[in-house]
Amino acid sequence: MSWLRTRSPFMIASAVLGAGMVIFLMLPIASSIVGSATGIPGALEDSGTRNAIITSVYCASLSMLFTMIFGIPLAYIFARYSFAGKNFIEPLIDLPIFIPHNAAGIALLMILTPNSMIGGFFNKLGIRFVDSVIGIVVAMAFVSAPFMIRSAQDAFISINPAMEHVARSLGASELQVFRHVSFPLAARGVLTGCLLTWARSMSEFGAVVILAYYPITAPIDLYDTFVTEGLSRALPINGLLIMIAIVILIAFSRLLTRQSRFLRPTEGRS
């Protein structure tokens, strides 16, 4: 009660509302884990579930890699340069977040099916998107790329461009400045983008189910099990997926903390 006496009404109201939000977010997750705890080892023994989780982890990692390779340079361009059409292109990057994900799946299907121009071209090279790992990766990358681009862009914007100019005055080329100064300083934002991209890819259902139902990913396996075998059989898979997400989140958080250590003073300023 002494805590209440020493705090302002605004602070107390904020704390109460904030606590409500924490409960809202945590309660379903906690109840899933508690409700499925005993069944998780059994779910792990099921080869179908195991394979679906492996497929999801593998494809989400590839999706993250893909968005890093193409998204980080784009983020840097957006952060550092002005060019004709930038104001038009830049908002479009967020579009995949706004459109329903099954609509995104259909949009991808339209251009990647073997009888479309692009899909047909790749099909001749032996690359199939429909019902393939590549299709899953493309669907995951499509819906998650904005998270990578925006996180990296914000990180690059936060770096004083004058610091890059100084690096160039010391003899570094643009590529060397990016490698030794800009990217390390933006790494925290890029890592956050990686986490968001990976997590969004792992949980993607709508776009993947339309473009590449097979090989089955974890969210599709969960949906299939729920529809065909009911809640009790789906619950352990659900708990398992949530546990994996928690482990990944903790690992990334630790990485972010380590990465940002140099930004904190190690000794008092004199």
């Binding site: 004083n160 100084v166 690096a167 010391l170 003899g171 030794h180 140099f262 904190r264 190690t266 004199s270």
Partner: protein, 367 residues
């Protein structure tokens, strides 16, 4: 390395560079002095190649560097806010340019140690910038540039964030580098004491234009216009009518007070027989003395103390003379105490005609 700027123009928003022309000679310490917003930093960034000028040329040892990228210009640059790389230790910051050049590890370490020791920051080598004070950061920024041994260094207000002791130390270091290594420096600042204490030559800049260039002595003794005079501490600036002009001496009527000035200086255009001109002239507050009525002086006026501002080592006293004009006089603190000055006290002020600098002359022949 010599730097020549020929008619450089550039505009960006409210700031612009207008027909900048100046030359930094090889081994020279050149200071650009000007208020905030004068375009000093923009000029340095243009020389660095961060911005491209709209017209004009920048020549390094006679070579036009307009199309040469920043990293290949070979110019060192110390920015105003140090801008150390926060993810690197002090040592890694100083090594940065050398690593980029592919210097072998043993040589790299020895050179870095030498530069850090010269600036007295060897003990900071393993610290990150976030743990350094402003003065320490500035030393590291300087060490980072000096490690690559540029023949021309641009310094953007490098001493502004430092305490007096560090400032003196850095000033000595820069002068030593200039004399021992023959490094040319182009240093911009708004601090005239800093500029006059270190420069071989000074350019005064305002609104993107170079107003005057010359040695510190030339500029201090002969400001070209009212702005330069005010900026250099000429606090007593008046308009008057030249009523007599003979034998190199002017008599200027300033609202009834006759002030004698020596003819000459950049603002004096000369007067012919029977010509009466208006002029603006200035007198430095430290060229005016509080004196007594018996003293012989070309300009001696009776007045009363209007007020004073105690600035520590010096005191700035305002004296209103009989004709109503206020003169600002600077006294050393002990002289002020000795003179026992107080508001309302009657005093005499004196200054010689050579201290009166004509800044501009206008007008027409007297009818």
């Amino acid at each position: 390395m010599s730097l020549k700027i020929e008619g450089v123009n550039r505009s960006c928003g409210d700031l612009s560079l207008k027909d900048i022309r100046l030359e930094v000679r090889s081994g020279e310490y050149f200071v650009i002095l000007g208020p905030t917003g004068a375009g000093k930093t923009m000029l340095l960034e243009t020389i660095m190649g961060i911005h491209r000028q709209e017209s004009g040329r920048i020549l390094l040892d006679g070579l036009d560097i307009t199309d040469i990228p920043t990293e290949r210009r070979g110019i060192g640059y110390v920015p105003q806010q140090s801008l150390l790389f926060p993810h690197m230790t002090v040592r890694r910051n100083v090594e940065f340019g050398l690593r980029i050049r592919g210097m072998p590890a043993a040589q790299l370490r020895a050179k870095t140690d030498r530069v850090l020791a010269e600036l007295g920051i060897l003990d900071l080598s393993d610290r990150f910038p976030a743990s350094l004070s402003g003065g320490e950061m500035q030393k590291v920024a300087l060490a980072r540039v000096m490690a690559i041994e540029p023949r021309l260094v641009l310094l953007d207000e490098p001493l502004s964030a430092t305490d007096p002791e560090t400032r003196q130390m850095l000033r000595d270091y820069l002068k030593r580098r200039q004399s021992e290594a023959g490094t040319s420096f182009l240093h911009v600042t708004h601090d005239q004491i800093e500029a006059f204490s270190i420069a071989n030559r000074i350019a005064v800049m305002r609104d993107g234009m170079i107003m005057q260039t010359g040695s510190p002595k030339e500029i201090a003794s002969n400001p070209k216009n009212e702005f330069v005079a005010r900026f250099l501490g000429y606090e007593n600036i008046f308009n008057g009518q030249v009523v007599r002009c003979s034998n190199g001496l002017l008599e200027v009527d300033v609202g009834g007070a006759i002030i004698k000035a020596s003819a000459g200086g950049s603002g004096w255009r000369g007067c012919g027989e029977g010509e009466a001109l208006k002029c603006v002239f200035g007198i430095r507050s430290d060229d005016i003395h509080i004196t007594n009525p018996d003293v012989e002086s070309e300009n001696l006026f009776k007045g009363i103390v209007e007020g004073y501002a105690d600035l520590g080592a010096i005191v700035k006293v305002s004296v209103r003379i009989d004709r109503g004009h206020i003169f600002h006089v600077v006294l050393m603190a002990n002289a002020f105490i000795g003179a026992n000055l107080d508001r309302g006290k009657t005093v005499w002020i004196a200054f010689n005609s050579r201290s009166v600098k004509v800044l501009s002359t206008t007008g027409a022949l007297n009818a």
